[in-house]
């Protein structure tokens, strides 16, 4: 479970203070497949970063009682100056797992071949996503935090990723951030909708999508 106790967050922008999350008290089951739906700029990614522990909320406490992944997204956690291999090894080390085994897995999964010895800054966006996604699958987590990463890459990789991911989520939970209802429906059974600073939980994904697209409850 991930417990949010009275958690709130605002951002200072040039046009004034922007509320991402009003004080919210919720528990998020970490073994289930839950979507976080919200419009662009609603603060979904910030919320995910707060849940993952990278960013601190303005007030309140977030308690994590599981092994959570980092927010997996468009290669955000990759260092551009390092090579693919060095990035993999770094991630393996900070998660206290064997760098060589991890590298073997990523090499196998990402199909990047010799590119893994090149600096990440020379990668295309799709290649970065492949690396980031392979990297995240190489380490076992109880719950994966995913920031719309699945939709990138070429068609074949997308299918492969979706299949691998399907397999993985048999055992692990997922928090899936997206603004795309169709994608969400494919991967999640439940949802949280982030709208106007309110985080509204739904046990039914269709209800959540109706609320997200039309503002219809019930």
């Amino acid at each position: 479970m991930i417990h949010l106790k009275n958690v709130a967050k605002t951002y200072n922008t040039k046009s004034g203070e922007r509320t991402v999350l009003l004080p919210t008290t919720l528990s998020i089951p970490s073994h289930e497949h839950i979507a976080i739906l919200g419009r662009n700029g609603a603060g979904k990614s910030t919320l995910l970063r707060m849940i993952s522990g990278v960013e601190k909320p303005d007030q309140g406490v977030i308690e994590r009682k599981t092994r959570l992944s980092w927010p997996i997204g468009f290669g955000g956690a990759l260092l551009n100056t390092l090579t693919g291999r060095q990035n993999v090894e770094f991630t393996a080390r900070i998660h206290s797992v064997d760098p060589d085994k991890t590298f073997d897995f990523v090499q196998d999964f990402s199909e990047l071949g010799a590119y893994l010895e090149e600096p990440v800054k020379s990668y295309s966006a799709g290649m970065k996503a492949k690396l980031a996604f392979g990297l995240s699958l190489s380490i076992d987590f109880d719950c994966y935090l995913i920031d719309e990463a699945i939709s990138t890459g070429d068609r074949w990789f997308r299918e492969k990723a979706a299949n691998a991911f399907d397999e993985r989520r048999q055992q692990s939970g997922v928090l899936f951030v997206s603004h795309n209802p169709a994608l969400v429906k494919r991967f999640c059974d439940k949802a949280l909708v982030l709208a106007d600073g309110h985080l509204v939980p739904f046990s039914d994904i269709d209800e959540a999508i109706d609320f997200y697209t039309y503002g219809l409850l019930g």
Partner: protein
Amino acid sequence: MNKHVTQDHTQQIVLMMNKRHYKEACNILIKRIEDNLASKLDYLLLARCLRNRKQYSKSYFYLRKVDFADNQPYGHYYQFGRIAYLAGKHNVAKKAFEKAHSKNDKIKINIAYLAIVNFQLGEYSEAVQCFRKIGSFRKKYAYLCDVRAFSLLLDGQTVKNMPVDLTSPEAALCHEIKQCRNTQNKEGESLLRTMLKELPLVARRHQPIGRTRTSNSDLVMLKSSDMRFAEFLQDPERRKIYDTLSLPSSFYSLCSLFQSFNLDEEARHYLFLLIEQKQISEDDICLAGNCFLALGMLDPALRAFSHALELDADTLTAYYGISQVCDALGDKQKALKYIKHHLNIVPRDVKALSWIAMHYIQAGDSVLAAKQLNKLERLEKGSPTHIAAIKAYFEKFGVTFNPSATLPDYHYIDWSSIEIPNEFLFSQPVELKKSKVDYLENFKQSSNVITALILREMTGRFGRSGIGYLWAIIQQLVFVSVFAAFFEFRGKSLPYGVDLLGFLITGISAFFIFRNTTGQMKTALTKNKSLLHYRQVSPFAIYSARSILEFTTGLVVFCLLVCASMVLGETVSMTSLLQVILVIFMLNLFGAAYGILIACVSIFFTAFSSFEQGISRVLFFTSGLFYYANELPPDIRDILMWNPLFNLIELLREGFFSTYTAEYASREYVAYWTLGLLFAALVVERTSRRRALEA
């Protein structure tokens, strides 16, 4: 007539039908029949066109002329059955559906029709059997569910799923028959059964499975049977039995029925009966309120709704009722307030959404109106009939129903009233005992992270080929050689028997350890921002890793330079190796604290970093790189000794040269400076962290 021409003309007709030009198609086909040219196919096509034009009797008339022998395919019987049913020939329809069933007993819609026809003919047990065959298929259509419930009731069986729409008289009757059975009221039950049989049934109000019947003859038929029902109850004998039943919901439906025939007297009669009920629930009060409203009695309606709300604040229809009263009184704002409240309780109420959409259209708020229209379209997506009804509602006000894509509408949502599903309800996490914190595990984790960061820094900064390392040495080598050449040229000999190279190395190398550490700290976060995506990596870990790496590099370069000077023939005799290493460590720590402070301050004041460049120049010349404190004039020395860096370099020389004693440098002074700066740096880092990560 040759075959080629026939095909040609059939194709033409089918094309017209596809384009929905039924009238023209009919005209051509009827002409062919009159000319005695028509084939069997023509009759079938004509029947179909007429059916699509909703002229069911005519369609049946032509279809009957076709000979339906035993060897016809399933589809023909089914179509014939449907048209016969629509034309009201239930007996013929039944036969046709049965034949279709014998051809293909898998098709459920056919069985559904058979069930309905059986029901219409009063063959309730047969209808029930048919419903049993189609199983859960009926759940697709509310209409089928209703008819099944009627059939079961009239067949004398028990019904589990009663019709839900209580506003239709038939459904109300169903509930009452059940109630009569429970209370053993035989008289009442037989009366109600007669009523249900003779009533203008829902079956005739809607076309089965989907579309509405709107042909004129149908409407007349419907009206007359409704009339018959009204007359039925005007008989005093029957009425006496009926009025003893005391069933609020049917009083309501009767009330609305009478009212639809402008029989206000009768309607009022039942309305007052309804209100007089002793055990009346808030829902029934709301029903009464609706009746008052429909009869134009606004005050009693408002009283009824308010009373219902007193009984239960969440009564579903009461808020809607009040808003309708307010609307009728002309108070639009109040009506809007109540309808919003209603929509928070019943968010998917089409009536209320239509009203609010209309209100926004009239108020000229096109954005909010479009949002409601979108919701309406979404709600009735599966049902063309309902969409048509909504369109009709809007056309009544002279507005076209034309939803366009908009953002979701959250404007009237009462966030506090949204229910949180159980699995998301906050449960206090179980507190673990504090002693369970595994310090060893934590230390291992941190050292793993810092090792990984150091490795990352090494590969990232010095490159794969190691040119970076070479540069770290060359940089200092160049400085040392340039100044050595300069001093050599001036020909000035150094006091205390110190060799020139050793003197320059202790100055320049020390300064560079400080300088490089500072530089590394300044860019530590900006260069490693993406690593902060990992929860394990904290800014402090990054600073530590860079500082440790800088210390080792500085130490190694220092040793290499000293070795090089020894190769060139200089003698090295140290007082204390420990002091040398300790001072280098202090230089590193001091540089780190200073660098973090600058990095954090320049987040808020970007101009600060150029100001800092100035300080760096000053430090270069005032830190004793090229002179001893001991040989300076006292007044200048007193000022320069304030510089902690000068103190550190003096202390380094004291440790490095056995012949030199730093008389004026103070260890305590340097320690205070470093600790103070480190404290300030960590405090500022902590407070500015949020801003640093956002930027």
